[in-house]
């Protein structure tokens, strides 16, 4: 019974999830001052993008170099609501048109654009955080995957979309705040989001949502859809000629990654207090891929650690070596990808887990071991460390 529970726990990769939960919910809040904890909160929002990329790139085999687009759309949807709340007529009375966001006033707009109107309402804004990125991903994904555009071409097109959106945001200054973005966000339904206590609450909200998102993605990975994604990565034609509409599956996982990125973006806006085109374009989009690559593109928890680690590195390097930090980041990326193609999680799978398994077997074989029902003989194939590309639940699920 107890053993069965442990097995159930292990096949779902819940030990690493639990470790992440302890680190995020207990360790960091205890050990870090509020400034550093705020940084972790910000990095966690990239964790959403990273787990989306695990699903899309690791499982689906589709590399998107435009996740910043969805991160940005989610972030902007949230920022629009917060900006409207911060622009009440009272606090904007020195403007020539009070009651509209300050950047609109500077750009000689005299009324709130119609498409901004719905974002006065929090439910609409929250819906927008989810729906807008998902819908855009659906349109892009459906159009491209139905035409069998994939691989490098897909990556290039998503990259182009990231560029287009950046140019659009910067160009339409009066509607978007331009290159500065949407700044001076103050309250959420009257609750000041700039205080330390608010930041702590937002940190916990972000951490819990992230942990739930990992569980959700893990559930998808273990469903038939997850197996199909792996199968498509391996032999797309076989899946197609087994009666599956491959394009719809790819579109689904692209939408999923976009939705996760959108949620991350919204939480970013809430915690950092602004949103700007510098989180939308090509460079941030590529950085997001680096998070997943460093953490391990087959591991959800690994990707979150990747996002945290790379961003810690970025902050540390840029504080300590302002001139060199970009080179150091690049070296970290190249080093990890060359040495451990499956990222840090792959390193754990190929080195630490076999060691643990040996240790466990040695303990079980010792004469002092309790007289449990004899462990079933391990077939030779199972004693081998699983292929790093094979997810744990598949490697251990025996019939």
């Amino acid at each position: 019974m107890n053993n069965a529970f442990l097995t159930w726990f292990r096949t779902r990769g819940l030990f690493s999830w639990l470790a992440l939960a302890v680190v995020l919910l207990v360790l960091f809040p205890l050990l870090l001052d509020s400034f550093r904890l705020g940084l972790v909160g910000k990095y966690m929002t990239y964790g959403f993008v990273a787990i989306g990329l695990v699903m899309l790139w690791g499982y689906g085999g589709v590399l998107s170099l435009g996740q910043g687009v969805f991160f940005g759309l989610g972030g902007y949807a949230m920022a629009m609501f917060l900006k409207l709340e911060a622009s009440d007529p009272e606090s904007t009375k020195i403007q020539s048109t009070p009651g509209i966001p300050d950047f609109m006033d500077w750009n000689q707009l005299t009324a709130l654009p119609a498409w901004w109107e719905p974002f006065q309402y929090l439910p609409v804004a929250l819906l927008g955080v989810i729906v807008v990125p998902t819908l855009l991903a659906f349109v892009i994904g459906y159009a491209l995957f139905k035409r069998r555009v994939g691989g490098v071409y897909f990556a290039i097109i998503t990259q182009a979309i990231a560029l287009i959106l950046t140019v659009l945001i910067i160009g339409q200054q009066g509607y978007t705040g331009g290159v500065n973005g949407i700044t001076d966000l103050k309250t959420l339904l009257g609750w000041d989001i700039r205080t330390d206590s608010a930041k702590l609450v937002l940190y916990y909200v972000c951490a819990i949502l992230l942990l739930l998102a990992i569980l959700g993605c893990g559930w998808i990975q273990r469903s038939k859809l997850g197996t199909l994604l792996l199968a498509m990565r391996d032999k797309e034609d076989r899946v197609r000629f087994s009666g599956y509409d491959v394009a719809m599956f790819k579109t689904f996982v692209f939408c999923l990654s976009a939705m996760l990125a959108g949620i991350g973006g919204a939480l970013f806006t809430l915690q950092v207090g602004f949103m700007s085109p510098s989180f939308v374009g090509i460079v941030p989009s590529i950085e997001m891929v680096i998070f997943a690559a460093v953490g391990g593109r087959m591991s959800l928890v690994g990707a979150v650690f990747g996002a945290l680690l790379v961003n810690f590195g970025k902050t540390y390097f840029s504080e300590s070596f302002p001139d060199l930090w970009l080179f150091l980041m690049a070296a970290l990326f190249i080093g990890v990808v060359l040495a451990f193609p499956n990222g840090l999680a792959g390193l754990i799978d190929s080195h630490i887990k076999p060691w643990l398994a040996r240790w466990r077997t040695a303990k079980a074989a010792a004469p002092m071991a309790p007289a449990d029902p004899a462990p079933p003989p391990v077939p030779a194939a199972a004693a081998q460390p699983p292929e790093p590309s094979l997810p744990a639940h598949l490697a251990q699920e025996k019939t």
């Binding site: 998808i220 469903s223 038939k224 859809l225 197996t227 199909l228 792996l230 199968a231 391996d234 032999k235 034609d237 076989r238 899946v239 197609r240 000629f241 087994s242 009666g243 599956y244 509409d245 491959v246 719809m248 599956f249 689904f252 077939p379 194939a381 199972a382 292929e387 590309s389 094979l390 598949l394 699920e397 025996k398 019939t399």
Partner: protein, 247 residues
């Protein structure tokens, strides 16, 4: 083109690649429960014909009717769902997945995105996987990673994946290529068993094997049907001897 009793009616099928007609006005009928073998020299258009039937290649003209329903122009997954299964020339299996998962994924339930999310490996699915695994001789290797199987076993696994779908028409492209003599024998027995309740098209070069399994043989040459009939009749056809079998 009227309705027929044939399970598959290919009529006036043509496909041209930049003017080269890989299939040229080809007509072919297949009975229910028939095992047809297609032979012919390299480049005769055998594989292209299968590609056209399963929708991998788009035809330039003609008609392919499966159970009196036009298949031309349908997306691949709809053709499969209508009941046509196709095995590729090189074993096309999911090497990184266990044999069990290879078969399970091929079970024809939960084929939509949300259906796949909700799909559960029920007792029914499990029984079917076990039954098919027994049929293809892989019952003892269900938890093996498919990439570790031998070449012959991979071929069987792909046939098994098609059997999971229970298609009414099964198309096999060189199923015994690269198999040992013993494996060929087992495959011949397997084919004879599985064509009991379905129609099968096999592309093959091995004449001994063809003799053993074929109900009827179609000889293709330069995108056309050169001869058709029982094996002994086709074998003695002077045109066939000329272009394919040799003197």
């Amino acid at each position: 083109m009227s309705n027929t009793d044939f399970v598959l009616a290919v009529e006036d099928l043509t496909v041209s690649f930049d003017g080269f007609k890989a299939i040229d006005n080809l007509t072919l009928y297949l009975d229910r429960g028939e095992l047809r073998v297609i032979i012919g020299p390299n480049g005769a258009g055998k594989t292209t014909l299968l590609d056209l039937i399963c929708g991998k290649t788009r035809a330039t003209g003609g008609s392919i009717k499966f159970k009196n329903e036009e298949m031309l122009g349908k997306p691949e997954y709809r053709i499969v769902r209508a009941g046509i299964g196709r095995k590729f020339q090189t074993p096309s299996i999911y090497e990184n997945l266990p044999v069990f998962k290879n078969l399970e994924v091929s079970f024809p339930h939960g084929r939509g995105v949300f259906g796949a999310l909700a799909f559960k490996c029920t007792q029914e699915v499990n029984d079917r996987v076990q039954a098919v695994a027994g049929e293809i001789g892989l019952a003892g290797k269900l938890d093996w990673e498919a990439g570790l199987l031998s070449h012959g076993e991979k071929q069987w696994l792909e046939i098994g994946m098609l059997l999971m779908q229970d298609p009414e028409l099964l198309m096999l492209d060189e199923p015994i290529a690269g198999m040992s003599a013993r494996e060929r024998e087992l495959t011949a027995e397997l084919l004879q068993r599985i064509c009991q309740n379905r129609s099968v098209i096999v592309i093959e070069h091995d004449m001994e094997f063809v003799k053993r399994i074929a109900h009827k043989v179609t000889v293709m040459h330069q995108g056309k049907v050169l001869a058709e009939g029982p094996m002994d009749k086709v074998q003695s056809d002077p045109r066939v001897i000329d272009v394919y079998l040799g003197h």
